[in-house]
């Protein structure tokens, strides 16, 4: 198992109750597995119009692997500008 720190922004901060959370994840979990686990722990994520996961400052595919020292962020729908 890996202990992964996840950064949260915008409404994800409200949903997680803070700007970072930690979760336990299987070694070599995919982004998809991370999302499923997050949605189980924080069902309000499923009510968002959409959300993405960023790994090391890049939008990640569902199939992408997550390793222990990656910087992981939950990216709710953006609204800058």
């Amino acid at each position: 198992m890996m202990n992964i720190k996840i950064l949260a922004f915008g409404i994800a901060k409200d949903i997680f109750g803070g700007s970072t959370i930690s979760i336990e994840l299987d070694e070599n979990a995919t982004t998809k597995q991370l999302k499923t686990q997050l949605e189980t722990a924080y069902p309000r994520l499923k009510q968002l119009a959409s959300y993405m996961v960023a790994v090391n400052n890049e939008y990640a595919d569902d199939a992408g692997l997550i390793t222990e020292h990656d910087e992981i962020a939950v990216i709710p729908p953006v609204s800058g500008g």
Binding site: F9, D14, I75, P76, V78, S79, G80, G81
Partner: protein, 139 residues
Amino acid sequence: MNTQIEIHTEPLNVQSCIDWIMSPHSGGIDVFIGTVRDMTKGKTVVCLEFEAYNQMAIKEMEKIAQQAFDNWPVQKILIHHRTGVLAVGEIPVIIAVSAAHRAAAFEACRYIIDTLKETVPIWKKEVFEDGEVWVAAHP
């Protein structure tokens, strides 16, 4: 350097953006200035609050600038975005594009702001007298 991409916590300065983008080689400059509107969907806005995932936001804005250079003959691109609490009338974003000819400047500037609003990890919370809402979060 032909790009200047920055995120600021202090008020953006239009004149310094113009000073940077002006060049003897350009014939036309298009500047987009976003401003905080007093009303949205009929409700009075008290203020807006912008939050950015800074490092990734800079990377995404650099990608957009590169796409603009790839698609139009433009010379310089500036993107300044503000974060924090902004009052009505303040400036969340300035985009400036210079080119030899105006068509490229207009089209690239429009592309940059449209794409920024779709891909750059920056979030806006609208604060009303009776509550607040993260824009675009819900369907």
